[in-house]
Structure formats: structure tokens, C-alpha cells
Amino acid sequence: MRPLDASGLPDVMDDDWPLDVSGLPDITDDDFSQWRARMARETMMGDEAIALGAVHAGLGGAFAYPGTPSTEIMETLQEFVKRQAEGKLDGVKNAFTAQWCANEKTAYESALGSSFAGKRSMVSMKHVGLNVAADPFINSALIRINGGLVVVVADDPGMHSSQDEQDSRWLADFARVPCFEPADPQQAYDMTREAFELSEKIEAPVMIRITTRLAHSRSLVETSAAKAQGAIQKPKVTKDWILMPANARRRWHEVLGKQPELQAMSSSSSWNPLSLKGEKLGVITTGLARQYWLENADEYAAAKGEIAHLHIGFYPMPEASIRKLYDACDEILVIEEGYPYVERQLRGIVAPGKKIMGKETGEIPYEGELSPDLVRKALGLPERKGLAVKELSPPGRPPQLCMGCPHADSYGALKEALKDYSQHAVLSDIGCYTLGALPPYNAIEATVDMGASIGMARGAASVGLRPTVAVIGDSTFYHSGLSNLIDAVSHNTNMTVLILDNDTTGMTGAQPTILPSSRLEPVLKGVGVHPDHIKVIRAHKNEHEKNVAIIKAELAHEGPSVVVMVRECLEALKKARKA
């Protein structure tokens, strides 16, 4: 499947769209390229293009936990579920499943099960979510995948909404899983469709790695006819799904044996085009970085002559193409977003001698997002300048809790309850309430990863720091706080957990929490927190005095206690009102 050049096609007028394709026969992949020119085109975000690509590939089940910048994939899929049910999703005849899950690991495992059942399956998450799902991800690479399994991971270089900028291509490599990296929403759509085909062909999971700017930028996407969803069909032999050592050893051997074939596939893939026009500088781009290069390419060619170029949109590394480029040029510049993945691998693929430039050598910044201007600089083109502010330097405007957010009242009560202690610890977690780190609250002292608040508070308490408080939201609690609370109950740790229960995942735009608020108390009781030390209170400044007194009493308690501070997220309220 080649990305088509659509520039010569007539624009589809609004009146022609959506096209009615319900009468079309089901078509095979071989002939769908003939259809695509006749299909609808509209602008969509990278995330939306992936969702649509999956549905058009015959998706059976999709699973996810919200996380910027991946959230809109599942949101779009759920919208499609509704439209499909109303008969408004062109050409998609069968209903499919699209569900939020408790965390990325459970989402991944659901997708695995759905693949076991023979359905095309997708799991989507942000980069740090893959750490949570690393166990099923890495092990699923040893399974003989049944229904195509596509793992979409959205990296966040520049850390717009994340605690690190790790590069998921390393994890794909680590697991020996092939990986697509789209350059624009059109490729995101096409690659998603192809990823399902490939997954079934090589019987392995396939990753799609995107970055923030692709996830959240819109451009024209030309779609093609939807494929029908497959029937339930279990694997013919299930021993390749049972990873006991003897099977796992055999499967690992088989997976490694497949690598040369994937290698060869990569060098001949149309996603990895090689052009050897110039001989001085050779440029390697990957994924979205190609767009920043293209923004400058004409100017570079006019000023300094032709350039040889290898673009990588599919991994493993196209080693043969890389060697050709290296042999043809005097020096190489690698432009990639994230870690210097290609750059580092490159040094192991080619003989030393020529200059290789990129993040490790400083031509491209190691940290943060790429931009057309950073690439320009690396190419030695003159800097572009706009206007400058004369005297002021505009101060940053950090994000903050919404006016009237219940978290503000919770932090107000907590701070007052703690004020008489000369020493205490407040360990927090990931969500809107992380903003409690900033003034005027200055209420928390740590935020590391999902669920860590309870574990860290427990660790600090178990070596003697008192009082210790964990602050965690309801969604994060179900994500991975619960297992830490079980440790606390088991060891009767002296600590207090504040669950800020706003009945939603606020930070990512108010997705429903996996279980409703009403279930929280029975869950706490069920794992064994003493019922006298489970306090459910309303997070509101009108209740301030009462709340302070309750928190104070629990801080003094010997053993684990949980204070649930309840009030609905304002964003969630707004969203509910709109709907």
C-alpha cells in the first residue's frame, strides 16, 4: 500500500459527503487502492485518523486508559460506536467494542484477549502508559498473535502534559516488535490499516508510535472503503499462547528468526523511501520530523544543491538503505523527534569514518520538541526572525486548577490540618491535583508516576516518618493506587490516604472513572481498611472546619486511614450539561 499523491484529485464537495458506500461490495486489500480516489476526504487529527483507520481495517475491540496526547483515539472510537449503532458510519456494518479500562496494563490484556478471540484489536496509551503495560507488551511479542493486534503509543516530547519524554521506539525494539511512525494524519490512517494486515501476516503485535504534534494536528485525510470485521475464531493451536518456559523458548527462537525478514521488509518498504540525488549531505528523517525537513527542503536545495534523503516510517531499521545512503554521502544528519534512536543505531550499522550529526553531537537539541526552525538551524540556513517584544518579557502562564475546583478546597483543609506538625510528608499523584504543587497551594511534595503517592507515603511511614499523607484522585486510585493500599492494610501502616473523588478523569478532559463514586467506599472496606477510618466528606469550603477536624483525627490514627473528599469536577459537569 503506497501513500497516494492526492494533489491532482478534485476536491470532494460538501454536498457529496458523506458518500453512501453501503451498497458497495466488500473489497479486498488488493483492489482497495482503486477505490480510494473515490472515497471521502476530510481534515482530522492524527488521533482521529488512527481511530478511523482502525475501524476501516475491521476493528473488533479497542481498549485504552486516558492520557494526553493519546486520549482522543478512544474518544473518537466511542463516538464511532454511537454513529455505527445509528447506521451513520459509512460502510461499517458490524458493531465493535471501544472501552476505557482501569489502566494501560488491563487495557493491553483486554486487547490480547480480543486478539485471542480472532478479532482485530487495538490498545492505545500515552508513552508512560506503556511502562505500566510493559509486562503484557513485551510478553505478547512471544505469542502467536491471532486477530491483528495494534499498539498505539503517543510520546510527548517537550513534556506538554507528561513527566518524561521517553521514546517508545526503544521499547518496540526491546520487544522485537515492528513499529510504524507516521509523518502526518494521512499516513496515520494508512499505517493503521497496514499495521493490522502486518500483525496478522507476521503473527505478532505491531506498534504505531506518534508524538504530540501529530496526535493533535489536523490535515486532510483521504479514506478508503471499510473492510468487514472478521468472525470469532480462536487460535488453531493454543500452545503458542501458553508462555511456559518450553513454549516461550521455542517462540523466542522463532521471533528472533523472523527479524531478518522484517529487516528486509523495512529496506524495501514504501514507508522508507530513499533518494540518492545529492552526494554531500545525506539527511535521515523519521515520522513527523520529515515535515519539518520538508518545510526547509526547497530553500536548502536552492541555496546548497540537492540532498540525499532517507525517510524512516517503519522499523526495524532499514539497514540496507542506511548503508546505501552512508556510502553515497560525505556526511549524515539525523532528524528525529524523541531520543536519538536512529542516530545511535546508525553508529552500529555503518563503519566509522564519516561525520554523523544529530542529537548526540548537538546539531539537533537533545531535549524537547522539534520545530521547522530547529531543523533550519541544523541545516545551516539563515535564522528567520519575526517581531520582538521591546521592553517586557512576557512571563509564563502556568496551568492552574479551574476556578471553584474541589481540589482547592481539599488542599485548603489538608494544609490546615497539618499546620501544627513540625514535620510531615504529602506525597501526591498524577492528575489535575498535581497543580497543588504550585502557588497559592504549595501543598504537595512529590509526584512521580501513576499510583505512586500511596506507595511512597507507605514507604516513608514504614521507616518512621509521621504523619504521611498520600493525595490521589479516584481515577488514579483505580489505575494503580489500590494495590499500594493493600500493602498498607497488610502491614497496618500509619498513614492517611486522601482520595480526591471528583468522579472523573479530569486532566484529560473528563472521561468517566472506571467505577462510579458510590463503589469507592465498599472497595475500601473490602480490602480491609477499618470502617471507622474511612471518612467520606464533601470537598467544599462551607465544610472547611468540619473537614479539617476529620483529617486531623485521621492523621493521629495508628494504622491506615482513608478520607474520601467528594465533589464533582466542573469540567465533567460542563460536559454532562452539553450532552
Binding site: S7, T68, S217, G386, L387, Q400
Partner: protein, 191 residues
């Protein structure tokens, strides 16, 4: 033809829907469009930025290079200043609302912000909120700004009106009319 727009403001000011309106109108006129948005954490009262690129050829980068934007459309005066490095130094125009949104302690004195803006070579500064109130919907300040920028953009006002109709249709005729009126008042403010 190439026309790059930086849309900026503070989380919650409706920058994304403005971006969608302009993009749709441009597409209806046969232009190629690329949009880049900010989602997630910064939507909580932080700086919000969208890049919108209109061109007769598919734009390559989803983000605008420095010194290249033809227009900064800002819902807040300090935010307009923040993105000046993206504005084309000779031809670029700033269209900005003048009501400061001071949700941080470090916000500079309003006069200083306004004097920086007034010193710009090409600018249209207007009290979008007041004009929106006059038009009958205090919340439609963003459409007032689109109206004020209408004659600068390579798009017919009728196409923008059509896009407003389409985008807000689901919310009912009243919302559609309020936004159309705000757009019209904005156009009058810069006629």
C-alpha cells in the same frame, strides 16, 4: 499563496473552535489546511496556542516557522506579545482583544502591555468582550475577533458565516445567530 495564523489566548477562551471555523471556511474555498492544537494540561488556565496554516499547496510542517505568520489572532493582550517572534516582521498583523486576563501574580502592568501592542506596525486592538455584549452575547468575543480579522484573511466573509452556521448548528439557532452577530459586529469594528 500561503497564509499562516497564530491563534492564542488562555485555556478556556474557545481558541480551538475559532480555529475550526476559519479552517472550514478556507477548505470550502479550496485551500489546503493544516492545524495544530494544544490539548491537555495547558488547557487548565495556561497559555493556549493553535497554529493554522492556509495554502494552495499542502503545508508541510504542522507548526508555523518563526517570522512567517501573516496574522496573530489573540484573545488576550499579553498572549499576543508572547508570539510576536512568529509574526512576519513587515506584513504581519496583530488582531487582539484588549481585556487582560490576570490569572497569575507575575502579570505585568496593563499599560506596559498595551504600550507594547500600540507600538506595533500593524495592529487592530479592540475590546472584543464589550463588542460581543453589544451584539448580545458576552461569550462570543472570539467571533468578534474573527470578524475584525475577516478582511485580512484570504477567505470570503460568506464562507466564514457558513462555517459558523455549520459548527454551531447542533447547539441551536440562537447560538448560531449570536455568533453570526458577533462576527458581523467585529467586521464593522474594522471596516
Amino acid at each position: 499563496m500561503k497564509y499562516d495564523i497564530v491563534l492564542c489566548g488562555v485555556g478556556g477562551q474557545g481558541g480551538i473552535s475559532v480555529s475550526v471555523v476559519i479552517a472550514r471556511a478556507a477548505m470550502a474555498e479550496g485551500l489546503r489546511v493544516k492545524q495544530s492544537e494544544v490539548h491537555g494540561m495547558s488547557q487548565r488556565g495556561g497559555e493556549v496556542l493553535a497554529h493554522l496554516r492556509l495554502s494552495d499547496k499542502e503545508p508541510a510542517s504542522p507548526t508555523i516557522p518563526l517570522g512567517s505568520a501573516s496574522l496573530i489572532l489573540s484573545f488576550e493582550p499579553l498572549e499576543a506579545l508572547r508570539y510576536l517572534p512568529w509574526l512576519n516582521a513587515e506584513k504581519g498583523v496583530v488582531v487582539s482583544a484588549t481585556t487582560p486576563l490576570k490569572n497569575m501574580g507575575t502579570y505585568p502592568e496593563t499599560e506596559k502591555v498595551m504600550s507594547e501592542l500600540s507600538a506595533l506596525p500593524n495592529k487592530i486592538l479592540l475590546d472584543a468582550d464589550a463588542i460581543a455584549r453589544e451584539a448580545g452575547n458576552a461569550k462570543a468575543g472570539n467571533m468578534v475577533l474573527v470578524g475584525a480579522a475577516a478582511k485580512l484573511m484570504p477567505i470570503k466573509p460568506e464562507s466564514i458565516e457558513k462555517a459558523i452556521r455549520e459548527l454551531f448548528a447542533r447547539k441551536g439557532e440562537q447560538v448560531v445567530e449570536a455568533n453570526l452577530k458577533a462576527f458581523e459586529y467585529g467586521r464593522k469594528a474594522n471596516s
